[in-house]
Assembly symmetry: C2
Homo-oligomer: 352 residues x 2
C-alpha cells in the first residue's frame, strides 16, 4: 500500500497499529499518551494539543481489550432490565445509558426477556466483564434471589424499579405508597370508589400497590375490593384482556371504577371493555372508569386515553446513576442508606 519508491508525494498514512506507533506520531511518549486517554486534563495543555492534533490525522483509538485487561476497574457499566420489549423499561434504559456515557462510562444494556435463565446468564456475562458497576432492574419474584445476592456482593450494584429486599443493596424506585393513595383519592372524589385489578404479583411493586390501595381505601372509609386475574409471564396486556373479558361476562367488577396495578394491564382491560361493548370514560353513556399506573408510553393512545400515575422516569434514572457512581467512588460505602423513592404525579386523561 505504501509506495517504497521514496517519491514522498503522497505519503499514505499507514494505519496506526498501537499506542506505541501513535505516540511516535505525536512526538510524545507512550505512557504520557496513556495518561491522556485516562484523563485528558492530567497532561499539560501543550502536550494535550499535540496529541489531539495527531488524533485528528490518524483517528487512533486504544484497544479496549488491552485497556480493560490491565485496568484494575473497567469503565464499563452494565444495565439490566427485565423486559426491554416493554417500552417503559426501554425508556428507562435509554435515560440511564445517556447518563452513563456523559459520566465517561461505557454502558451495555441487557434484557432478561422475562426469563430467569436469561437473567442469570446476563449476570454471568456481566461478571466476566468486570464492570465498574451495574444498574439492575430484576425480574422480581421470578429472580434467583441468591444469585443476585452473591452478584451484588462482588459487583457494585444499584437496584432500580424493583427491589430485592433484605440484601442491603441501594434501591431507587417509585413511592407506591404515595402514588396509589393519590390516585385512589382522586377516583373517590370524582365517582364510585375503585376496585383494584391485579394479576399474580411479579414483583414487590405489585404487592405494595395492592397494599397501598387497601390502606388508602380504608383510610377513606371504603371497603377495598381486589380482583386478581390469572396468568403469568410478561404479556400483561394479554392477561388484562383475558381477565377483563371474564369479568365482563360474569357481570362486571363490583364497582364502576377500576384501578389497575399497571398500565399494561389496563391496556388489556380497555381492549376487553371495547370488545364487550362497555363504554369507558367520564362522559355520558360510559359505564366504567379505568385508571392505570406508570404512564406507559402508549397510554396516551389507548381508547379512551388512559388516566394514570406517572412515574418520575427522569428522577429515577438520574438518581440511580448518581448512586452507582457514588458507590463506585466511595468503595462500598453504607449501602441501603443510599436508597431513594420518588413520588409520582397524576396524569388525567379520558378514561377516568
Amino acid at each position: 500500500m505504501l509506495g517504497c519508491l521514496g517519491r514522498g508525494v503522497i505519503m499514505t498514512e499507514h494505519k496506526i497499529r498501537n499506542m506505541e506507533e501513535f505516540s511516535a506520531k505525536c512526538g510524545v511518549s507512550r505512557p504520557t499518551v496513556s495518561k491522556y486517554f485516562n484523563d485528558p486534563n492530567s497532561v499539560r495543555k501543550s502536550t494535550r494539543d499535540r496529541i489531539e492534533a495527531a488524533l485528528e490525522k490518524f483517528d487512533f483509538r486504544p484497544n479496549v481489550y488491552a485497556v480493560n485487561q490491565n485496568r484494575r476497574l473497567t469503565k464499563n457499566i452494565g444495565i439490566v432490565v427485565p423486559f426491554v420489549a416493554d417500552p417503559f423499561f426501554a425508556e428507562l434504559a435509554r435515560n440511564i445509558e445517556r447518563r452513563c456515557i456523559d459520566a465517561g462510562f461505557s454502558p451495555s444494556t441487557f434484557s432478561a426477556h422475562g426469563s430467569v435463565e436469561h437473567e442469570n446468564e446476563i449476570l454471568e456475562t456481566l461478571r466476566s466483564m468486570r464492570p465498574a458497576g451495574v444498574l439492575l432492574a430484576p425480574l422480581g419474584r421470578a429472580s434467583d434471589k441468591r444469585k443476585i445476592e452473591s452478584f451484588c456482593e462482588n459487583v457494585p450494584t444499584v437496584l432500580f424499579d424493583c427491589n430485592i429486599e433484605g440484601i442491603g443493596v441501594p434501591f431507587i424506585g417509585s413511592n407506591n405508597f404515595q402514588s396509589v393513595p393519590l390516585m385512589v383519592d382522586y377516583l373517590c372524589r370524582t365517582g364510585e370508589p375503585p376496585c383494584f385489578f391485579e394479576m399474580a404479583p411479579v414483583n414487590p411493586n405489585a404487592n405494595k400497590r395492592r397494599d397501598a390501595y387497601r390502606l388508602a381505601m380504608e383510610r377513606l372509609g371504603h371497603e377495598p375490593k381486589i380482583l386478581r386475574v390469572e396468568g403469568q409471564g410478561w404479556e400483561f396486556e394479554s392477561i388484562g384482556y383475558g381477565g377483563g373479558m371474564r369479568a365482563f361476562a360474569e357481570g362486571g367488577f363490583g364497582s364502576s371504577t377500576v384501578l389497575c396495578s399497571n398500565d399494561r394491564l389496563a391496556i388489556g382491560l380497555l381492549a376487553a371493555a371495547y370488545e364487550s361493548g362497555v363504554r369507558v370514560g367520564l362522559g355520558a353513556g360510559c359505564s366504567l372508569r379505568v385508571a392505570g399506573h406508570d404512564d406507559h408510553p402508549f397510554s396516551r393512545f389507548t381508547c379512551p386515553s388512559l388516566t394514570t400515575m406517572a412515574q418520575d422516569y427522569k428522577a429515577i434514572s438520574e438518581r440511580s446513576v448518581e448512586t452507582l457512581l457514588a458507590l463506585i467512588e466511595g468503595g462500598s460505602a453504607d449501602d441501603s442508606a443510599l436508597s431513594g423513592l420518588f413520588d409520582g404525579h397524576l396524569v388525567l386523561r379520558a378514561s377516568a
Copy 2:
C-alpha cells in the same frame, strides 16, 4: 482466608486467578485448556472430562479481555436497532440475540434511540469491539450513509429490516411488494378501496409500501389516494394521532378504508378516530375501516383490534443470523447475493 496451619480439614478453594492455575488443578497443560475453551470437542474425551470436572469445582472462566485481545477475530456480534422502545424491534432483537448465543457467539444489542448521532456512536463503539460480525437495522433516511458504508467495508455486516441500497451489503427484510398488494386486495374485496395513510418516509420500506400500494390499486383498476401527514421522529403514534385528528376535522380521508404505512401510525389513527367519535370496524354503525402493517405486538390490543400484515419475525431473524454466519465463515463471499425477502401474511382482526 486459606488456613496456613496445614490441618487440611477444610481446604478452602482459593479463587483461581488465571488459566495457568486452573490447568494445574485439572492436571492438564494450559494450552490444552485453552484449546478446550475454543472448542471442547477438539480435545480427547478423557481430558475433556478432567477439565469439566475441575470446572464444576472451581467455576473458572477465561478472562474475556485477554481472550479477545489475542484472538484474530472475537466471538462478539453486534446487534443494532434504530429504536428499541418500539416493541417490534425489541422482539426482533430478542430473537436474533438468542440465535447468536446458540451459535456460540456473544451478542451485544444497541439501540440508536432514533438519533443519527447515537447510531454513529454505536458504530464507533462497535468498531473498537472488533466484532466477528454485525447485524444492523439502520435508522434509514436519517442514517449517515457514508459512515455505514465505510463501516460495512471493515466489518462483516448484514442489514435487516431496512436496507441501505447500493452499498453491496446483504439485506434481509420483508417483501413489501407481496404484503401490501395482499392487503390491498383483501380490502378491495370486502369494501371500498383503501386510501394510503403515511408520514414522511423514514426509510425505504415506507417508500416501497407506498409504491406497492399504488401499483396494487392500479392493477385492480382503482385510483390510488395517498394521504401524507406531517411530523418526524420516531413517535409514530403521535404523528398518526395528529394526522388523524386533522383529517377527521377536515372531513375524512376520501375513503372509508384507510391502509396505514405501519401499525404504530394506525394505533395513533385509531386513537384519533375514537376521540373524534368515528366508529372503526366492520360492524353496523362503523364508518371507517383501518388496516396496518407489521403485526406490532400491541396491535392485538387496540380498539378495535387491528387488521394487519404480519412480518415473518422468525424467518427474518433466522435468516439474518444465518447470513451473517456464512459471511463470517466464508470470508467476504459474494455479498448482496445473500439477500432475502420474506412474505408476510394477513392477520384479520376487527378493524378492517
